[in-house]
Symmetry: C3
């Protein structure tokens, strides 16, 4: 029999025992669950980064997976704790947008506020609803408790404004949405934008004031070591990299920088 | 059937394969065990930090969990390898205090020295008893081998001196016992000390020479972004934080600093 | 019943969801597999470090374990994806040497190129064969698919040149092959080299220009705190350490430095 999977995405880091406390609570309620860390390295309080990375990973998990995300600067305030149901998965976390992108990509079916006191730990701290509210909710879901039993259905969910590329005088203005641990620069320009502006094998892009004319590669190794290149990254966005180097450091690029695609 | 849980708390970091080697040994002896990392980010050789974080996480794990802690600057010397039995859990590690706080919180029932050669790996290195002694002991315990079969019962265990808050001329002098990855400053002042000195909604505290008059909040968000506050943290100690900021960096506070509570 | 074990060794770090995506793919194909991280902290693109750490950890895993290593600067190029079969284990990863040391230590029996399209994800990205090729291959192997069904047997595998200690005018010239997270300096000088050059309890070694005459200890604690010592480390190589300190930082030693053993 397949164990249910619960994933965890947080900004807790791995130095503290906070993640372990969530796992302890989950396993106390649902002993046979398989807990997988998506990442605990979200920049502190950065709900946008949490939303992007959860949305990147979620499509690869099997149907029925329960995704918990806790990037929660508003813990203890009036922001609601949520369960979002899609055809594919359940998402558990605060109503601050961290769940929304991943859930919307799958199509949101129902949203429930977690309000039922007996789905939570007996004692609820001020500052750690990851352990006291979200972990037990996920574990009860893994045990088969239906989402309808956690609280009332609601019909709105917070969304983080995402920037879409815009057309301006024959160019497409997008932006850098993520820089990964390799220093690869991930933009919000997808295959569709690329097709509008580029020939098949090169792209012209301006990043942080620098205009680049890059080979559109299928492998990093198609250019020489330490040379820049463009590629369609593993999440299907245009990505600027340096073969065996760190593009963000070398080109001094940060998240939020404009990425303007020129016709080539 | 519920798999037995073994937790690991070490100062090994996650760059090296040391943690994986411990897990490999455990799974070779007890294939169905569920291994949960508490943390491998203890500051090197800091038994006091190891003891505090293990004691923080342990209460959330189910009865029967086996906690292994390896912060072991004296590896290979005469310090004994131990199994400590409480009503709730088993603790495995060196006799240097790293296990004691968590075990004492549950009430120590028996202490055994691990001496039986056949409970260890065939070859024992000089420097890595985590893999060669503690991991196999935990795995055999998970398999149901009784603690009495590992070696003689002993009646003393090392304890790390912990500082209790002391009363002095109408103030309570405590100290900073931990700074977490968010920069939250955790003191050894609990609910009881707070009740002696404070009204219900504000506290006066001097930290590293700075006198602060802070709102005692239920949520970080009760003060403005980047403003300091006090709260009862998730482990029930008075905690100084900055809403969406890093209190320890901003206020220049480190572990061991005095935290003096004034009447308010 | 024992779940099959799949281990992961990568240079992906833990900030990104890349490791989680590999685990998601594995669990989608083989739900009962037990996934153990060896390390994701390999220095980016450093196949040599990946090979060393995988070879360090592999011997401790049970027979039948499937080891996946993805340090893959040549992803998307002509380098082959491989399955290497030994008597003990299966190894999955790129043909760039990262698997070879661990596999050769066990004795290579067969090498297969992964070429069968239906053993891979439906869509294959340019840049992430860890998720799209190696993870599904490992999962299918865990499900019992024989290695012969992934592609043709081949008879050569890339090897990273390893330096062996050489004799020169009565000294043995080795080198530093790894510095661990504690700052312990691990050389390629083993027990055999030591026996040629040393008395039983002291060694004379020159490291990065500094000549050291060190006690050969069974425990770090045999010398005073902050004093240097030599020991046979947990992987059976001569290791220079500082009791409760960081030898590499203090002595300014880096990987690749000469380590010359003198007669003592």
């Amino acid at each position: 029999m397949r164990s249910p999977i619960i994933t965890l995405t947080t900004d807790f880091g791995l130095k503290e025992p906070y993640v372990a406390e969530m796992k302890a609570v989950i396993l106390s309620i649902s002993p046979n669950v398989n807990i997988i860390d998506v990442t605990h390295g979200i920049d502190k309080f950065n709900t946008r980064m949490g939303a992007f990375l959860l949305a990147s990973a979620a499509p690869y998990f099997p149907k029925g997976t329960i995704h918990v995300a806790v990037v929660d600067p508003g813990v203890g305030t009036e922001r609601h704790p949520l369960i979002i149901q899609t055809k594919q998965n359940l998402f558990v976390g605060p109503d601050n947008g961290v769940l929304t992108l991943a859930a919307e990509n799958q199509g949101i079916e129902h949203i429930y506020e977690i309000r039922e006191r007996k789905t939570m730990l007996r004692e609820i701290s001020n500052t750690f609803h990851g352990r006291d509210v979200f972990a037990p909710a996920a574990a009860h879901l893994a045990n088969g408790k239906p989402p309808t039993e956690f609280g009332p259905e609601i019909h709105e969910v917070s969304t983080l404004k995402t920037v879409k590329p815009i057309k301006r005088k024959g160019v497409l203005v997008g932006e850098v949405i993520h820089i990964d641990d390799f220093g690869n620069v991930i933009t919000n320009l997808g295959q569709k934008e690329l097709e509008q502006m580029s020939t098949r094998d090169r792209i012209k892009i301006r990043l942080a004031g620098t205009k680049l004319d890059l080979k559109l590669c299928k492998a990093y190794d198609e250019v020489k070591t330490q040379e820049p290149l463009a590629t369609i990254g593993s999440h299907k966005f245009v990505e600027i990299a340096i073969n065996q180097g760190n593009a963000a450091n070398t080109l001094k690029i940060k998240v939020g920088d404009e990425a303007t695609l020129y016709r080539s």
